[in-house]
């Protein structure tokens, strides 16, 4: 329902833009879809996905009731967000990168983004919540979050801060990274307008449950070299795979012989769905 309203308003927007070309001025478009990706509860886990990921099916039940009490230890259920030190079949080293979804998911989705990139924000607001519900939580797709800094110095600051936050929370409270990540995108303004300077990002961080802003602040200068190296490694990994814009998504099914597929830009959810179905074959 809201999608159809949104679609209609977009079409109205396009029509108005056409009129603009002829010399008139004035139209607007707003994104009214609310951000529910940090609070959405897990509703269903299909039998087929249980079969592919027993560990994760326990986890999703856990996250549906108490998202913050998860951890990565073997004795506790797997969190929705978790760390890994493996290098995937696709050749991406996952150390220092947040993962989301079942470790046994047949499709890996590598997501390169820049916190200042408007189209990354569009993906976060529009497509990600649906992707999370339909593919990531049911254990069909595992999301790998990677940095690809292109827009400016503030993007570097945000990317390094993301690494700091992840290092801080990955052991005890990895889901806090998801909240931080979403909060930064929610606060996004025009690129290089000053919204992503260190002090403002720290201020946003203070409001994120489970993340210690003071620890993040001290982490940045203390680990400057390793943080920069980690951000640069993400970008280099992207370049090696042909990434040159943000956001870029590469879908890889390690269990099939098919070629990986990619999506560039904030394409609508059905395009993601079609690509995942294609890669799953």
């Amino acid at each position: 329902m809201s999608d159809s309203i949104d679609k209609n308003s977009r079409r109205a927007f396009l029509g108005t833009a056409g009129i603009l070309i002829t010399g008139l001025a004035g139209c607007t478009s707003t994104n009214t879809e609310t951000d529910n990706k940090t609070t959405t509860k897990q509703n269903t886990t299909t039998d087929s996905t249980r079969a592919t990921s027993n560990t994760y099916s326990e986890t999703t039940t856990e996250t549906s009731t108490q998202e913050d009490t998860t951890s990565t230890t073997a004795s506790k259920p797997q969190s929705l967000v978790y760390a890994s030190t493996e290098t995937t079949d696709f050749g991406i080293n996952l150390k220092d990168n947040p993962l989301m979804g079942s470790p046994n998911a047949p499709v890996d989705l590598y997501y390169w983004s820049d916190y200042q990139c408007p189209f990354c924000n569009r993906f976060e607001q529009d497509t990600f919540p649906k992707l999370l519900e339909e593919y990531i939580k049911p254990g069909k797709v595992r999301l790998v979050i990677l940095e690809y800094v292109t827009i400016g110095d503030a993007s570097k600051t945000a990317a390094r801060m993301a690494k700091c936050v992840w290092r801080q929370v990955q052991e005890e409270n990895p889901d806090a990274f998801k909240r931080w990540h979403a909060s930064i995108f929610d606060a996004q303004k025009k690129p290089n307008s000053g919204w992503a300077i260190k002090q403002n990002l720290l201020k946003i961080t203070e409001g994120v449950k489970g993340v210690d802003a003071n620890a993040v602040e001290s982490c940045l200068p203390k680990n400057k070299q390793s943080l920069s190296a980690s951000v640069a490694a993400d970008k280099q990994a992207g370049k090696d795979k042909g990434v040159n814009v943000t956001p870029t998504f590469i879908f890889d099914n390690s269990t099939s012989n098919g070629m990986p597929s990619s999506i560039q830009g904030a394409q609508p959810y059905p395009r993601f769905e079609a690509t995942i179905k294609e890669v799953m074959k």
Partner: protein, 178 residues
């Protein structure tokens, strides 16, 4: 010719050039159609990779692509950036209608005018959409590295087009510099 007279003449010629397409219904329609096509091309070129993927998946994605990319221009460059793209599209419509008129009036023999037209259009086109194409060619972050996210380039392109239009004036009139 004094400086004041020259500026006055420049302004009058520009006004004549801009007014020519609205002297008949067919010219108005032609200018609008060219402007729309130009706008579509400019918007698609702001993110060529995405445009190719979306349109490659089917023409049913055309409107979504246009809306998403227009919204992205708004989010990145604001209303000023979008206004520049629209201005360039409108000016291109005017310029092409004027060029066609000039050729029909003076014939193809008026090569000096054509030489004046083509670089103007190409240069302004490149200036306006080149930022997106740079990204497509592998220069990641080219847009961000440009002053005001490419807006300065777009302003340069529009100035070039206005200069061309002022230089050509009303395409039905021969201009004598005395």
């Amino acid at each position: 010719m004094s400086e004041q007279t020259r500026v006055h003449r420049w302004g009058a010629d520009l006004q004549s050039a801009l007014a020519y397409p609205i002297t008949s219904i067919s010219r108005v329609i032609s200018a609008i159609l060219i402007a729309i096509v130009t706008y579509v091309l400019l918007i698609l070129s702001t993110f060529p990779e995405m445009s190719i993927q979306m349109l490659g998946a089917g023409l049913q994605w055309f409107d979504d692509t246009m809306i998403l990319l227009t919204e992205n221009v708004l989010a990145t460059n604001g209303w000023f950036g979008l206004a520049l793209i629209i201005s360039y599209a409108v000016l291109t419509g005017v310029a092409i209608v004027n060029v066609v008129a000039q050729i029909s009036v003076t014939g193809i023999s008026s090569l000096s005018d054509l030489i004046g037209v083509l670089p103007g259009l190409v240069a302004s086109g490149c200036a306006s959409c080149g930022a997106g194409l740079l990204g497509f060619l592998g220069f990641a972050g080219a847009m961000a590295a440009m002053p005001f996210h490419g807006d300065l380039l777009r302003v340069g392109g529009i100035i070039l087009l206005l200069t061309f239009l002022a230089r050509a004036g009303d395409p039905r009139e021969c201009r004598l510099n005395i």
